[in-house]
């Protein structure tokens, strides 16, 4: 039986839309923090669109994940880098796809180990539905409902252009 095909939006257009949403809220106290790996790519692309002098960093939330007990440590752990003082900052977390909210919970826990931010908000390209925690993105370029057995991911081609892929999930 063939699965019904799901139309995916153009990730480059979503990025521009997200940048437009973010522009009005950026000020001197803002910092962008990308979550590995899609969120880090997005942050690199968003910076020139929003103003190069914005403080920014990256997080790998492997050490804060709530599924460590089931899955163990992720194979490719990358260092988190927060090269600015978190204290009093208005931080915008950047991620590609918002799903259960567990990654964002882990990211918030990690951020607080660097200091006490004034606020944290969340910007994503796609909210795919299915959240399991009281967390939701404040900035979102696209909403869609995907079944739990599908894995939506942001990819980058050789020229650095973004596109989305949808695959059958390994773990349901």
């Amino acid at each position: 039986m063939t699965q019904p095909t799901i139309d995916l939006p153009d990730a480059e257009q979503l990025l521009s839309r997200l940048a437009e949403q973010l522009k009005p809220v950026i000020n001197g106290e803002t910092a962008l923090v990308g979550i590995h790996s899609g969120g880090v790519w997005m942050t690199e692309r968003l910076l020139p669109m929003l103003g190069k002098d914005i403080a920014h960093g990256k997080l790998d939330v492997s050490f804060y994940r709530d599924d460590f007990g089931q899955r163990g440590l992720h194979q490719d752990t990358l260092p988190s880098q927060i090269p600015f003082d978190v204290e009093g900052r208005h931080i915008i977390l950047i991620d590609d796809v918002f799903y259960t909210g567990r990654t964002i919970r882990a990211a918030m826990n990690e951020l607080f180990d660097y200091g006490r931010p004034a606020s944290i908000s969340l910007a994503v390209l796609v909210n795919r539905g299915g959240r399991e925690l009281p967390i939701t993105p404040q900035f979102c370029a696209h909403n869609m409902q995907l079944p739990a057995d599908r894995n939506l991911q942001l990819m980058q081609d050789k020229a650095g252009r973004f596109y989305l892929t949808l695959e059958e999930s390994q773990d349901v």
Binding site: Y64, G72, I82, N109, G115
Partner: protein, 316 residues
């Protein structure tokens, strides 16, 4: 071939020796440690990975630095830590070790860090423990000290990332050193093309060249153009019989001084596993000099041990 360190699907279950570890696991440990280096520089130097787990440091032989760094590593991973200094008794050692381990298992310990003067002690315990328990060898007799070797190669990789271009010399008491064997394995596994050992004949094990190293008995020849000088401690407490004429004589011939270090590459780094015998295997001006990375080694040792513990704890 059965490898007691790995699970059936090839993941790290115990860390007993570097021998038998595939390059992918060594690299995974070093890469993970890289992420933990940053944790120590934050306001809160802790991550929640091992929350609710209990780590038992069982030291049948004293080693303050190794025990302390394992303790800090476990605490920074949010584990509960129990330290036991068990002095070796005259009783049958096998029974004593297993009784100790069984009692701690009954208290729901999740991980054992074992230091013992007998080679093979950690293997012995790893074979005995229940399947959910992980064992780390923190030094067994003359056999192995894998986390020390890992922190040494981690330090080298941080300063000299191009491992496949390096010339590394190990200097000193290779015969009694459990670190030397582990280091040689780690370096060759990571693709270091030339590993040298420099020592008097009396401090080299027989057939040492079978480990793939080049043997030198002369500092001037051995240190020429090396990128890394790894000093070994003169193991006074393991020394039996007259292997050396005197400490002064040893320093004159094999002690690392500024003059001898000048034969290595100008940007060569100097490592030492500690504790140092200043004025015997290393001169103070070298130990405290600009090429020394001996204190960074201690700092990185915590990150490497955090990496090992968190990888093990996740592989159930």
């Amino acid at each position: 071939m059965y490898n007691p360190q790995l699970t059936d699907d090839g993941k790290l279950k115990h860390l007993l020796s570097i021998e038998g570890l595939p390059k992918s696991i060594i690299t995974q440990i070093l890469d993970t440690a890289e992420s933990f280096v940053g944790v120590a520089e934050r306001e809160v130097k802790k991550v929640p990975l091992l929350r609710g787990k209990t780590v038992c440091n069982i030291f049948f032989e004293n080693s303050t630095r190794t025990r302390t760094t394992f303790e800090i590593a476990a605490k920074r991973l949010s584990a509960d830590v129990i330290n036991l200094n068990v002095s070796t008794s005259s009783q049958s050692k096998g029974e004593t070790i297993l009784d100790t381990v069984d009692n701690l298992t009954a208290m729901h310990a999740d991980m054992f860090v074992i230091r013992h003067s007998q080679s093979g002690a950690a293997h012995f315990i790893a074979r005995h423990v229940k399947p959910h328990i992980h064992v780390i060898n923190a030094g067994d007799g003359r056999h192995a000290h894998p986390t020390q070797a890992l922190l040494d190669v981690f330090t080298i990789r941080r300063y000299k990332p191009e491992m496949h271009n390096l010339r590394v010399a190990l200097v000193g008491d290779v015969l009694h050193s459990r670190v030397a064997r582990s280091e040689i394995h780690a370096l060759t596994t990571l693709g270091v093309p030339e590993v040298r050992v420099i020592a008097p004949k009396t401090l080299l094990p027989e057939h040492v060249e079978k480990l793939g190293v080049h043997v030198y008995h002369d500092m001037a020849a051995g240190l020429k153009d090396v990128d890394v000088v790894m000093m070994l401690r003169l193991q006074n407490e393991r020394m039996t019989g007259a292997l050396l004429p005197s400490a002064q004589e040893y320093f004159k011939t094999f002690g690392l001084t500024q003059e001898k270090l000048a034969l290595a590459k100008p940007d060569a780094i100097v490592t030492h596993p500690g504790p140092m015998n200043r004025g015997i295997e290393i001169d103070s001006s070298v130990a405290d000099g600009r090429q020394s990375v001996i204190l960074p080694q201690v700092t990185y040792g915590i990150a490497v041990r955090m990496a090992v513990m968190s990888i093990l704890a996740g592989n159930n």
